[in-house]
């Protein structure tokens, strides 16, 4: 058991190393382009160029550059943006993280509840019009670009129907801290939560329905029915519980990816100052250190979440113990 855990830890570290090398390579070893110019930003003065070249060691070989970058990111954490007047990057990312966590956490609660409901209903009524309708809706949800859906939601709740009783409570775009104003926090985030959740409700509802329908052919489902259990108990206690194993492992990955910056488009559309919007602003300023920091941060988060998923998997599926 201990050996297995150690092995898993070693694997995680290896993947982390691989990711850092990959991200570094994307930003600083892409052939044919001078990273100095990219880091210094648009129209940088020759002095800035020289300072950048020296600080990142671009006059040194690649491995040295890599080590220096990792040192700046994880050890001294003083990687700073040249575009944004020497703003330290790492603290900025950490400041934005709670916003992203608020957005993704709420959306995750909605999408888990909604997709479990939809998937279970569709599976229980498989072959019916309700099943087909729900699955079609799920497919429509999967097919919508999230930033477009967000804009349409803004149009409806901020402008067209803002004065109707239905949406008059919706505050203007932006974010309020949970600690300062819990109800404001909630009101600001409800629409973004729903918009972000739509895609995942579609995906998870469809995956869960497929898993559940497949489980109806399993011997243990027949045994459960032969025991004289009610249909709902067979479906929920035996079918759903078993299908939750895949569901949870998918959830862990998607949740981590979103927290790590995958919710960028939603944050941009709703003006939420999270990690994703930080990346977006850096994008507009061509602020490479900041983008690299956010990408690295998200990848680290995903890998750690992967490890957590594996642990949860152990709890959920006794066969893997």
């Amino acid at each position: 058991m201990l050996m297995a855990l150690l092995g898993r830890l070693g694997q995680t570290l290896l993947v982390l190393l691989g990711i850092s090398v990959l991200v570094f390579a994307v930003f600083f070893a892409t052939p044919g382009a001078d990273p100095t110019a990219r880091i210094a930003g648009r129209n940088a003065s020759p002095e800035t160029m020289a300072a950048v070249r020296h600080e990142y060691g671009f006059d040194r070989p690649l491995p040295v550059q890599y080590l220096r970058m990792m040192d700046k990111l994880f050890v001294t954490r003083d990687l700073s943006s040249f575009v944004d007047h020497g703003q330290k990057v790492v603290p900025e990312v950490l400041r934005a993280a709670p916003v992203t966590l608020s957005l993704v956490g709420g959306a995750a609660a909605i999408w888990v509840a909604a997709s479990v409901t939809i998937g279970t209903i569709a599976a229980a009524m498989r072959g019916s019009w309700i099943d087909r309708g729900l699955m079609m809706l799920g497919l429509v949800g999967i097919s919508m670009p999230v930033f477009w859906l967000g804009e349409v939601a803004n149009l409806v709740t901020q402008s067209r129907y803002h004065h109707s009783w239905l949406f008059s409570w919706v505050p203007g775009l932006g974010y309020v801290s949970l600690w300062r104003d819990p109800s404001g926090w909630f009101a600001h985030l409800v629409i973004p939560w729903i918009v972000l959740a739509v895609l995942f409700i579609g995906i998870y509802g469809r995956v869960l329905r497929a898993d559940l329908v497949a489980s109806f052919d399993e011997d243990f489902m027949r045994t459960a029915r032969a025991k004289g259990l009610s249909d709902s108990r067979v479906l929920l206690h035996h079918g759903l519980r078993t299908s939750m194993i895949t569901f949870v492992s998918l959830f862990g990955l998607d949740f981590a990816q979103l927290v790590g910056g995958g919710a960028l488009l939603t944050e941009v559309v709703f003006g939420l100052p999270g990690v994703g919007r930080l990346t977006y602003q850096a994008l507009n300023n061509l602020d490479l250190p900041l983008i690299m920091a956010t990408v690295m941060y998200s990848a680290v988060f995903v890998v750690l979440a992967n490890a957590v998923v594996d642990l949860v998997y152990l709890l959920l599926d006794p066969r893997t113990r």
């Binding site: 290896l14 691989g18 892409t30 382009a33 990219r38 097919s143 995906i203 488009l265 990408v295």
Partner: protein, 355 residues
């Protein structure tokens, strides 16, 4: 079999033989591709989605004709002083605001008249309907090429990993894991930002920053892990399949097994994946273009059109809503087609979408 049992001669000795003869003499069964094709054509939603996709391709191909002969406009030229004739009178495309100060200009809204800004104009006075058709060309072209490139790369990776196993498999699988750990859009953004600012210079080859090749290659790359995993799984299960074991026992060379036994069977997985990857690629393209690191101005794609419409969302929502609907319809059709293909070809190992 075909009810030929009635004609069988009596006697236990010939019974078995006669039965197998009946099989041999039976009508030739249709090939698997034909069966799958017929199954696909019997599926009304798959047929509808194919018709919709065909229509979309046709419409975007007709973009220049629409711009020149119907709308009489150049959708790539900004012209804030232009006028259109509506109900017999000339109306300015950019109209003064109706607010108290009469500050600024608002483009004309949908006129529902194909000769005069059918869907209105954007904030540079350009015909949205014409730009929608031109944007469709780029969006469809990029997502199609990206899907083909992605599937080709994924097939190479997946087949190598699955067929050769061992160290090759371990290295490739780890590489895929690492790529997949970075959120897809962030990965695409990283690749775009380094290439879009100054283009790419690979030795003698220079890819300009406004080349469509950049988004195609970038989107194809980031979805390789998504497509390679099911391919590898399929190859692994085929490698353990009895007919492959049989071929190996007969001493058939590995190259031949790969070409004759593995490839044809993997191809169904690839075909099912193609529309699904194209749907993801279309969404990714629109997201990159929305963030202005995909298709570069003045060229248009559905994503850049939504970005153009963002500033007008409360006054002229049609500018952003129309391309969004085009995206939803296309992606929906691709997803339904993918589902239909999966059912027709009976492929189970396909992965799922992810943002």
């Amino acid at each position: 079999m075909s009810g030929g049992g009635d004609l069988l001669p009596a006697g236990p000795a010939t019974g078995g033989l006669a039965a197998s003869d009946a099989v041999a003499r039976g009508p030739v069964a249709p090939g698997p591709w034909r069966v799958a094709g017929q199954a696909l054509l019997r599926n009304p939603s798959a047929v509808t989605s194919m018709a919709v996709l065909l229509l979309l391709v046709l419409l975007s191909l007709l973009a220049p004709a629409y711009a020149r002969y119907v709308a009489h406009t150049d959708p790539f030229m900004s012209d804030v002083a232009a006028t259109v004739s509506l109900h017999g009178e000339e109306v300015p495309v950019m109209q003064p605001n109706h607010n108290r100060l009469h500050l600024g200009l608002t483009p004309i809204g949908p006129t529902w008249n194909p000769r005069a800004d059918l869907l209105g104009a954007d904030n540079q006075g350009r015909d949205v309907a014409a730009r929608l058709l031109y944007g469709g060309r780029n969006s469809l072209l990029i997502s199609f090429c990206a899907a083909i490139l992605c599937i080709a790369l994924a097939a190479m990776v997946g087949i190598c990993a699955g067929f050769f196993g061992g160290v090759t498999d371990m290295l490739l699988s780890r590489l895929m894991d690492i790529m997949w750990a970075i959120p897809v859009y962030l990965f695409a953004i990283s690749l775009s930002i380094v290439s879009v600012s100054q283009g790419l210079h690979l030795g003698p080859v220079t890819i300009r920053s406004d080349s469509l090749l950049l988004p195609i290659v970038i989107i194809a790359l980031v979805y390789v892990p998504y497509a390679a995993r099911p391919v590898r799984g399929r190859v692994l299960s085929l490698r353990r399949a009895e007919f492959v074991t049989a071929a190996r026992c007969l001493g058939v060379p590995r190259r031949r097994i790969l070409l004759r036994d593995i490839l044809p069977n993997v191809s169904t997985t690839l075909i099912v994946l193609a529309p699904l990857v194209m749907a993801l690629a279309l969404l990714a393209e629109s997201a990159l273009s929305f963030l202005s690191i995909g298709v570069q101005a003045p060229a248009a794609s559905w994503g850049t059109l939504i970005e153009d419409g963002t500033g007008l969302i409360y006054t002229r929502p049609a500018v952003a809503i129309a391309p969004g609907i085009a995206i939803v319809v296309t992606v929906l059709a691709l997803n339904i087609l993918g589902d239909g293909l999966r059912d027709a070809l009976d492929v189970r190992e396909t992965s799922r979408g992810r943002s």
